[in-house]
């Protein structure tokens, strides 16, 4: 485990002792999310979002498995089977609205989780592997969400599938064969629907596996914290349970309240009306837009409008993939030894510009490809790449950072004289 003062699992009940000796599963849970995982005592509410993303994944898997019992992955009947779920399956409307809006909430909490990592430098050593596994989860989420949106076989399902797989067609030489291989034909049809359904069922379990790796990798150095200062002594930490289970319980309550408001009172607010029209290969919608959580990337894709050595479309595709892949290199692009944005005044300015920039990209991505949205997304795309590839590397070399607190306890005690008592750690353990 991460720190020498981590509480060891001592089963009290004879059955648990019997079980622990044969299968140390209780020990694993205790060390992962129980009293045996010491966590910095100064985490703020932004540290709730990892757990919330895990809950969102669980909700998606549970609702999705039940939906799959009623859904038909058949181009003739898929649309009607979704309406059958909405009208005739007991509480089917709840399952489907929970699943569709659950995807949106999964992305909301994941985006907050990612930006928390960007602000507090969670990607920096020794947590690079945690960061990169998180990005793998994010990519898998995007693939899963995209394929899930195709399943109702409405107009946006069909045309979204056509546009997104068409991106691969921009790759020179192999593009078209790859596109046909993905679709199982020249256009989205029955083979596309069945393979997307199969993969949409598979990938969440792959995500679950990578989440296990993500948490495993996190437990090697232990959780970061808002100061970015390493944990130095037992005074700096509290056991995950009950301290952060309680805090996460409250965070989960707030999350579920917001989720319930959307699900029960605005279930179609984040959806597109065109997806209530059955897929029709002969009628193109006026504006093809993906789901809102893809809008920033969609804006980057459409920002490249002029050929320059390579065709404009290929630039757009490259930029869209690069905009995510560059995040894998972030730990080596930003070499500032100070992790937390709270002690990097100049970084903080650029961070908030980046937040505004991504929001602008998202807004432009949801608008039709007309002026002034295209020009605006071009400016925002320039800043996005400049931020990560030009500004951060230079900034981390020249920036004047603020003095760091000596320890987490010091940062939260505001110079109080007395030593903070170790919280939730038995004095005997602390003294060892």
């Amino acid at each position: 485990m991460s720190f020498p003062w981590a509480e060891e699992y001592r089963p009290k009940h004879p059955f648990m002792r019997w079980l622990d000796e044969r299968l140390p599963l209780p020990r694993l849970v205790y060390g992962a999310v129980g009293g045996g995982y010491p966590v910095p005592r100064n985490l703020n509410y932004f540290w709730n979002f990892g757990v919330l993303a895990g809950v969102a994944l669980a909700l998606q898997i549970v609702t999705g498995i039940v939906l799959a019992m009623h859904y038909e992955a058949n181009a003739e009947t898929a649309f009607n089977s979704v309406e059958h779920i909405m009208r005739n399956v007991n509480q089917g409307w709840f399952l489907r609205y929970a699943h569709a809006n659950g995807a949106s909430f999964f992305f909301i909490v994941t985006y907050i989780h990612i930006f928390r990592g960007l602000y507090y430098g969670s990607y920096k050593a020794p947590r690079e592997m945690v960061w990169m596994l998180g990005l793998v989860i994010f990519l898998l989420m995007m693939a899963t969400a995209f394929m899930g949106y195709v399943l109702p076989w409405g107009q946006m399902s069909f045309w979204g599938a056509k546009v997104i797989t068409g991106l691969f067609g921009a790759i020179p030489l192999v593009g078209e064969p790859v596109q046909q291989w993905l679709l199982g034909g020249f256009a989205p049809d029955q083979p596309t629907l069945t393979r997307f359904f199969s993969l949409h069922y598979l990938l969440p379990f792959v995500i679950f596996g990578v989440v296990v790796l993500h948490i495993w990798a996190l437990h090697i150095p232990g959780s970061g914290n808002p100061t970015g200062v390493d944990v130095k002594s037992p005074q700096d930490t509290v056991p995950f349970h009950p301290y952060y289970t309680a805090k996460d319980g409250f965070g989960l309550g707030v999350f579920l309240i917001l989720f319930a408001i959307l699900l029960f009172f605005l279930p179609n607010y984040l959806g597109h009306p065109d997806n209530y029209i059955p897929a029709n290969p002969l009628s193109t919608p006026a504006h093809i837009v993906p789901e809102w959580y893809f809008w920033p990337f969609y804006a980057i894709l459409r920002a490249f409008t002029v050929d320059f050595i390579l065709p404009a479309k290929l630039w757009g595709v490259l930029a869209m993939f690069a905009s995510i892949l560059l995040l894998f290199f972030l730990p080596w692009l930003d070499k500032s030894p100070v992790r937390s944005g709270s002690y990097r005044p100049t970084f903080r300015i650029f961070f908030w510009i980046l937040i505004a920039d991504v929001l602008v990209l998202g807004y432009c991505g949801g608008m039709p490809a007309e002026e002034p949205w295209v020009m605006l997304s071009q400016v925002a795309t320039m800043y996005y790449f400049a931020h990560f590839l030009l500004i951060l590397p230079i900034l981390s070399m020249v920036e004047r950072t603020l003095p760091l607190p000596n320890s987490i306890s010091e940062s939260v005690l505001h110079g109080e004289e007395q030593e903070a008592a170790p919280v939730g750690v038995k004095p005997a353990t602390a003294a060892e």
């Binding site: 009208r87 319980g249 009306p273 290199f329 400049a386 919280v423």
Partner: protein, 304 residues
């Protein structure tokens, strides 16, 4: 090394995006995008106060029955409702016998076979049947409608921006084209000007033409506006029949969640009470931390 290559890649993407922007600006300045005719004349749906809106909204059963009557006597001649079954009409407040009668007397038959010969035939619908389509296929529908295809109305209230408001506005929105409408956008043969429709010219002839077109069973005066509001409400029910259980269930769940969250908050405070005495508030937003930071910034000579 990573930073060097990152720098090159960054310059590449920023440069090409800037190049695109340059051409975009040149095009924008030399040829400012003209306002499209659709953009200029298109109207957004008018707002109607429907009883089913808002977090506690419920359907008005009388209104749904009136709306169903309008659908049955006006719309059903051309538009299907194939996601809805006759048995669902019980939701509108009809008794079982009434539903059976409505199904049995429906103007369109359900495709069937002759039980003696096995040849294609038709039979009267039963409550378990869905509303039969008015046309056997799209070709037949187009042939009967000047090559336009009347869409199924089951999900219309969710499949258009503005929903029931849009349907209402569209039904009462027919008018003579304005004088300044360009010639190319004037309604051609078999088209009707309607500013609420996306491309301004719709193939559907005005369906509600005169007050009293439908004689309401409950005696409500059947003005065009009334008929259009009622049928819009009915179509909203057809698209979202579970709206009431959704609203009611949502309210119960929300009350439960708020209660549970308050308890969770109190237990969080309780568990942290001992630790908080030492920890107090944390993070960059804590007032004490802000003061500390500002002091440190002054010390370090950073202004602002």
């Amino acid at each position: 090394m990573v930073r060097f290559f990152g720098f090159l890649v960054g310059l590449g993407f920023v440069g090409v995006a800037a190049w695109s922007l340059l051409w975009g600006v040149i095009a924008y300045v030399s040829e400012p995008p003209a306002e499209t005719v659709e953009h200029r004349f298109h109207l957004h749906p008018e707002h109607v106060d429907f009883s089913f809106e808002g977090p506690l909204g419920r359907y008005d059963r009388q209104q749904l029955q009136r709306g169903f009557q309008v659908y049955k006597e006006v719309c059903a001649a051309c538009h299907g409702l194939n996601q809805v079954a006759f048995r669902n009409l019980a939701d509108l407040g009809y008794s079982e016998a009434e539903v059976r009668a409505i199904a049995d007397q429906w103007q369109i038959q359900v495709p069937s076979i002759n039980p003696e010969t096995g040849e294609p035939a038709g039979r009267n619908p039963i409550p378990a049947d869905r509303f039969p389509d008015p046309y056997p296929n799209e070709t037949a529908a187009r042939a009967a409608n000047n090559n336009a295809f009347p869409p199924d109305l089951s999900l219309m209230a969710k499949a258009r921006e503005g929903g029931a408001h849009y349907i209402h506005s569209l039904l009462i929105g027919y008018r003579n084209p304005p004088a300044e409408l360009p010639e190319a956008n004037r309604p051609g043969q078999g088209l009707y000007y309607n500013p609420y429709f996306a491309n301004l010219n719709i193939a559907m002839p005005p369906p509600l033409t005169a007050d009293g077109q439908v004689t309401y069973a409950d005696g409500t005066p059947a003005t065009i506006n009334q008929m259009s509001t009622d049928v819009s409400a009915f179509l909203n029910w057809a698209a979202e029949p579970k709206l009431e259980s959704r609203h009611q269930g949502g309210l119960v769940i929300l009350i439960f969640l708020i209660f549970a969250t308050i308890l969770a908050y109190l237990s969080y405070r309780n568990i942290w009470a001992a630790a908080k005495r030492n920890v107090r508030a944390t993070g960059p937003l804590d007032p004490a931390n802000i003061a500390r930071r500002q002091a440190a910034e002054r010390e370090a000579g950073i202004e602002g």
